[in-house]
């Protein structure tokens, strides 16, 4: 049995906010694949849980009028990977969360938990960074929107306040339309892994497919929090995809923007090697996907999956 004193099943987000405000010792539980592991380990033992497991409105992916993708935070990884909107517009996000743990964990673990646990090793982290995803937080004081690029304050720490519940993760059309991407996870084995490093590279090419209009590079585990590499991104903009020097640029560029640490899981030197090599490979794949015509337009709300031109 888990060492908890109180358990509260929230009926709605408002209910969850109220329960959290009422119980200072309480933490949110959604899929349980992080919270219950920590509880079993004796961390937070004797505290309480506010469950948002059964709040249906927090599940699933929806399309807003302006083409923004709204991801319910209680959507489990499997459902996210298989969601038609995700597959069409941000398939690399689905691929990223498809590398979490194993199938059973992906059936339970949620994207909201993956973001809110503040882990730099979260498999969605690098990709969401490149998407400038917005975390919608609802608390006693109302709703606020925080970009994931400003969400993390340190290892395992975020700006989310105790009484705030993540009620959505939003991806705006300007952040996905016209882009392809590639997420690469590096682990010590091929499944049931915490990322030694996660790298997502996304590109938007010009109409002819010759020039990089915009590049975005995100990492997990390359620093205490998930990060972007804005300097290298800027340097890549305007470069020709046929020029092999882009790979050297990304290769060496990212090294100046990351701050990996040595731990027993991997040394800093090893992570630096992976940071370069994976960026190079992810860039290549992202470009290949663009040249293959895989970049989506803006999602149209007609529900037929038709894109608006971008």
């Amino acid at each position: 049995m888990f060492d908890i004193e109180g358990y509260y099943e929230a009926k709605s987000v408002e209910d969850a906010v109220r329960l959290l405000a009422e119980h200072e010792d309480a933490q949110i539980i959604s899929g349980g694949t992080d919270v219950l592991v920590k509880l079993r380990d004796g961390k937070d033992a004797g505290g309480s849980l506010v469950s948002i497991h059964e709040i249906r409105e927090l599940h699933g992916v929806r399309l807003q009028e302006d083409g923004t993708l709204e991801i319910g935070p209680a959507t489990c990884f499997t459902d996210l990977t298989n969601d038609p909107l995700i597959r069409r517009y941000v398939p690399y996000l689905g691929e990223a969360v498809d590398t979490v743990g194993g199938p059973q964990v992906r059936n339970q673990g949620t994207i909201g938990g993956n973001v809110c646990n503040g882990a730099t090793s979260a498999d969605s982290a690098a990709t969401l960074q490149t998407l400038n995803a917005v975390v919608v937080l609802q608390g006693t004081d109302g709703i606020r929107r925080v970009s994931v690029t400003e969400f993390y304050t340190g290892p395992g720490r975020t700006v989310r306040r105790h009484d705030e519940v993540c009620r959505a993760i939003e991806i705006r059309p300007e952040d996905y339309a016209g882009f392809t991407g590639c997420y690469m996870k590096y682990g010590k084995r091929a499944a049931m892994e915490i990322a030694t490093l996660g790298c997502c590279v996304r590109v938007k090419l010009d109409q002819e497919g010759r020039t990089i209009k915009e590049a975005r590079i995100g990492y997990g585990v390359a620093a205490p929090t998930p990060i972007r590499c804005p300097v290298t991104e800027a340097a890549l903009a305007g470069c020709s995809v046929e020029d092999d020097r882009i790979y050297e640029m990304i290769d060496s560029g990212v090294l100046g923007e990351v701050r990996p640490r040595s731990s027993w899981r991997a040394s800093k030197e090893f992570r630096m090697q992976l940071i370069s090599e994976m960026a190079r490979r992810a860039l290549k794949e992202a470009i290949r996907r663009s040249l293959n015509g895989e970049a989506p337009g803006v999602a149209a709300q007609d529900g037929k999956g038709g894109d608006q031109a971008c």
């Binding site: 888990f2 033992a45 194993g102 010590k188 084995r189 091929a190 090599e277």
Partner: protein, 880 residues
């Protein structure tokens, strides 16, 4: 053979796929109390005081005991047969709970509570005061000047035992090198000097170590445990409690894997003690996965400081090794595993001048090393086969040819007398090389460039069966005829997943003539009723316990035929049991004519007869031979590949000729062995299946016979057989692994494209189960090569003691696994069989390492070859 050698499905398969097979905790009473062990938070020191006052207040706590409460008795834990010679006894170096703590997580107290939450809360509230010493986690730290001796009452320093083995007493490596320089000239020699390391790893059976204990109404403390060794556990619990063995009872249900970890006694004596301390109430002590990984037993980490010398034309001249193993905090299996590493390192290759290997087992303040699948031989194979390939790389030899020329030869006799009777090691190598396209790939992979490189590698091994003559091999079996003509088979060599129950059933069916569907093996061992056996380890069961099964089956058969003789009024010699019927026996062929005895132990000596009478029955006479043999007279015969030779030992004479068989150049050849070093080594093999006879008319069904035997008003007889077999035979199994892989150097990733194990394990008892065993061993070998390693921080605290961070392979990490066997009857095995359970894990890691060497030219000096280590090595070599 009719039943042995066929791929019957497992007798426990249905129970396991339906989830109905009961494991230890599945049987636990619902009112069991929950125990939590309190573990030290330092790696080396002394507990000065424990304050349980806060912990006792936790609601639900029933009892707290500490290291200051337990009996002042030190006991050994190894799953070894006890030695009646004091010098060979396992070392008693721990108590139920210890004040002197010797590893992070050492057991210092225990809480018993009504549930796990109460027990864990209380455990967290226990305050411990320590006197701390420097942690000594590595071999180097333990051997350094001024290191605290961990067991000053037993050893003055941290060297538990040091042994030295040489191929001949006067061998010295440096002398051999001088001689080689004189003989060949220095310019014609290749020498490699290197230090190689293997890691400490965990078994990771999926069922954790668990038990529940209670005191029965008769006053016996009863422990239901997930163990490989119920009878030994019974003795160890008694030793630990200071109780008579008869007052301890151990029950072993199905177990969810052991791999040697459960060939040790873990916390079961403590659990017995806790139950007694709680007035006999049922207490469950289930270790967490984390405890199970880091606080039970591990595979010995090993360091080998090695040298090897060969001529430039590829002749191995001499080797030496100083081999250090990390025993951890307690003796557990003592020096046995280290000795196994050193002897196996020496024996696997033939050195023209000789070989020396010294083994040091070293106490350290870290997790205890004990038995793990193949008991030191994976380490030995890694040391020997990396040295071999490094010599080959330096000398430009083909590693396959070098091994063909220099490996252990047919007829090899080890210094302790174990003889390599049936030999197909070289044929295994040949087959493995063909499968992997060795020559072609070696050519194709020469002179590669680019970031991704391909390589092929190989490794060989040999493995003795069971523990004789180093230790006792004894085994009992019981068979009972039921009223319907079916039988119960009861043994204590345990089913741990390897398929023992199935092959024992096949053996019983084979030899009795009763069909598999009427053989009921009792899988659960209860030491109050199950006959004695030392348990599941050393790949011994099918060989050692197999002999007991055969002996018992022969005895049961003789009793059945004796009763049939009474019922039918015909001599038993004229009868046989065939598919649950008593039949007339019809003789075919000349050899056997008129020479078979009623106990059925006799065989013909015609060219087709592969077996001869065993010294197990009463009176035997070999067909066509005048010689009278009897077990009492210690008369022995040897049968090899179609012929047999008298090897009469009753006059104490030596020098009888014996033969071994070797599979060479695609055919079986026979060789003489003169002066068998060990008179006890030769015993005849008899499958119990009579050659040159066939069933004739059905005279009586087993069911009719059984009903009569039970209920006859004239002669009621409950037909049973129970035997002990003291096994004094041994032989070697062997085999090899070949692997073809690619290395993505910038990412340090290894992808196995093709892999095969080829095994020389004698006659297969059940080919499909045999193959499955090999798959599992290969997967374990892949983990050993690439990812598995227990890590510690500088305080001695384990870092990765869980299944997420301790990386055993998932289905995505294992390639398609290929297996082949070269079956050759071994004369020592009860059905021509020899060891298979453990060997598959042995050759994989060195084969992968050698393939990486072939691919990249980088000679990795340690496993696991993690991605990080590979990247560092490739960077150092300027490859990336």
């Amino acid at each position: 053979m009719e039943t042995v050698g066929k791929s019957f499905t497992r007798v426990d398969a249905r129970g396991k796929v339906t989830g109905e097979a009961k494991y230890t905790n599945d049987l636990m009473p619902k009112d069991a109390l929950w125990a939590k062990v309190v573990r030290s938070t330092i790696a080396n020191g002394v507990v000065k005081a424990i304050d349980i006052s806060e912990a006792e207040k936790v609601p639900g706590v029933v009892k707290i005991v500490t290291c200051f409460d337990v009996p002042d008795i030190q006991f050994p834990t190894a799953g070894h047969p006890w030695s009646v010679e004091a010098a060979h006894q396992d070392v008693p170096d721990r108590k139920l709970l210890n004040t002197r703590v010797r590893q992070w997580g050492d057991e210092i107290a225990a809480v018993v509570a009504k549930d796990n939450v109460a027990a864990e809360r209380a455990a967290r509230l226990i305050k411990v005061e320590y006197e701390e010493y420097e942690p000594i986690v590595t071999i180097e730290e333990a051997l350094s000047e001024g290191a605290t001796p961990l067991h000053p009452d037993i050893r003055k320093d941290n060297i538990f035992v040091h042994t030295s083995f040489k191929t001949s007493p006067d061998f010295d490596y440096d002398e051999a090198k001088k001689r080689a320089i004189e003989e060949y000239g220095e310019e014609n020699l290749i020498e490699v000097s290197e230090t190689l390391r293997t890691p400490r790893i965990a078994h990771c059976h999926i069922e954790v170590c668990t038990s529940w204990a209670y005191v029965d109404t008769n006053g016996k403390v009863t422990v239901v445990a997930s163990t490989q060794i119920p009878h030994i556990m019974r003795r160890v619990i008694a030793q630990a409690l200071g109780w008579p063995v008869g007052k301890v009872r151990v029950i072993k249900p199905y177990i969810g894997g052991g791999f040697g970890n459960k060939q040790d006694v873990i916390d079961e004596p403590l659990n017995a003690y806790l139950s007694i301390a709680c007035g006999g109430r049922c207490v469950c002590l289930e270790l967490s996965r984390e405890e199970c990984v880091s606080q039970t037993r591990t595979r010995h980490a090993c360091k080998g400081v090695l040298r090897g010398l060969a001529t430039k034309d590829g002749k191995l001249l001499a080797r030496e090794g100083d081999i250090y193993t990390n025993k951890g905090a307690y003796a557990s299996h003592g020096h046995a595993i280290t000795a196994g590493i050193t002897t196996n390192f020496k024996d696997i290759m033939h050195d023209e001048y000789g070989c020396r290997s010294d083994g040091y087992s070293v106490y350290t303040s870290s997790a205890v090393a004990g038995a793990m699948r193949a008991y030191g031989v994976p380490q030995a194979a890694f040391l020997a086969d990396c040295l071999t390939d490094d010599l080959c790389a330096k000398g430009g030899f083909d590693p396959l040819k070098f091994r063909m020329d220099n490996c252990v030869p047919p007829g090899f006799v080890a210094s302790n007398g174990i003889t390599y009777y049936s030999y197909s090691l070289k044929e295994c190598m040949k087959r493995g090389a063909e499968f992997i396209h060795w020559d072609e790939k070696r050519r194709a992979y020469a002179n590669q460039t680019g970031p991704v490189r391909h390589g092929v590698g190989m490794s060989i091994f040999m493995y003795k069966v069971g523990v004789y003559p180093i230790s006792l091999e004894t085994s009992s079996a019981r068979m009972i005829l039921n009223q319907d003509g079916s039988i119960q088979v009861e043994l204590s060599a345990t089913e741990i997943g390897q398929g023992a129950d199935t092959v024992f059933s096949q053996m019983a069916a084979e030899t009795t003539g009763i069909t598999m569907d009427k053989v009921y093996i009792i899988s659960t061992q209860d030491t109050d009723v199950a006959p004695f056996d030392t348990g599941a380890y050393a790949s011994r069961q099918s060989f050692v316990t197999g002999k007991a099964v055969k002996k018992c089956a022969l005895e049961l058969r003789a009793r059945i035929l004796d009763y049939a003789s009474y019922m039918l009024g015909r001599p038993a010699e004229e009868l046989m049991i065939w598919q649950n019927n008593i039949c007339e026996k019809i003789h075919t062929g000349d050899a056997a004519e008129g020479t078979l005895h009623g106990d059925g132990t006799l065989q013909g000596d015609g060219p087709e007869a592969s077996v001869c009478a065993a010294g197990t029955g009463t009176g035997n006479q070999a067909a066509g031979e005048a010689a009278e043999n009897s077990a009492e007279a210690n008369a022995r015969k040897l049968a090899f590949g179609g012929s047999y030779i008298d090897n009469t030992r009753n006059d104490g004479s030596k020098g009888e000729s014996a033969k071994y068989s070797a599979w060479l150049d695609g055919e079986v050849k026979e060789y003489d062995i003169h002066d068998l070093p060990n008179g006890e080594a030769a015993i005849l093999r008899d499958t119990g299946v009579e050659k040159d006879v066939k069933p004739g008319k059905v005279l009586l069904s087993m069911q009719e016979l059984a009903m009569n035997a039970f209920y006859s008003l004239d002669r009621s007889e409950h037909i049973t057989a129970e035997v002990t077999n003291h096994c004094k035979e041994n032989t070697f199994a062997s085999g090899c692994c070949f692997v073809d892989l690619e290395v993505d150097m910038p990412l340090g990733k290894v992808k196995i494209n093709n892999i095969i194990n080829v095994h020389d394990s004698g006659t297969l008892l059940n080919p499909k189960l045999a193959e499955a065993q090999v798959h599992g061993g290969m997967s374990m070998g892949i983990g050993y090569a690439l990812t598995e390693e227990l890590l510690y921080d500088k305080t001695g605290r384990p870092l990765n003691a869980n299944l997420l961070d301790f990386k055993i392979p998932t289905a995505m990490d294992v390639p398609e696994l290929h297996v082949e066997f070269l079956e050759m009857d071994d004369p020592m095995g009860p059905y021509g069989n020899k060891a298979l359970g453990e060997p598959p894990a042995i050759p994989v890691a060195p084969a992968i390492r050698n393939a990486i060497l072939n691919a990249t030219g980088v000679s990795m000096k340690e496993i696991p070859m993690t991605q990080q280590k590979l990247v560092a090595a490739f960077q150092e070599a300027g490859l990336i």
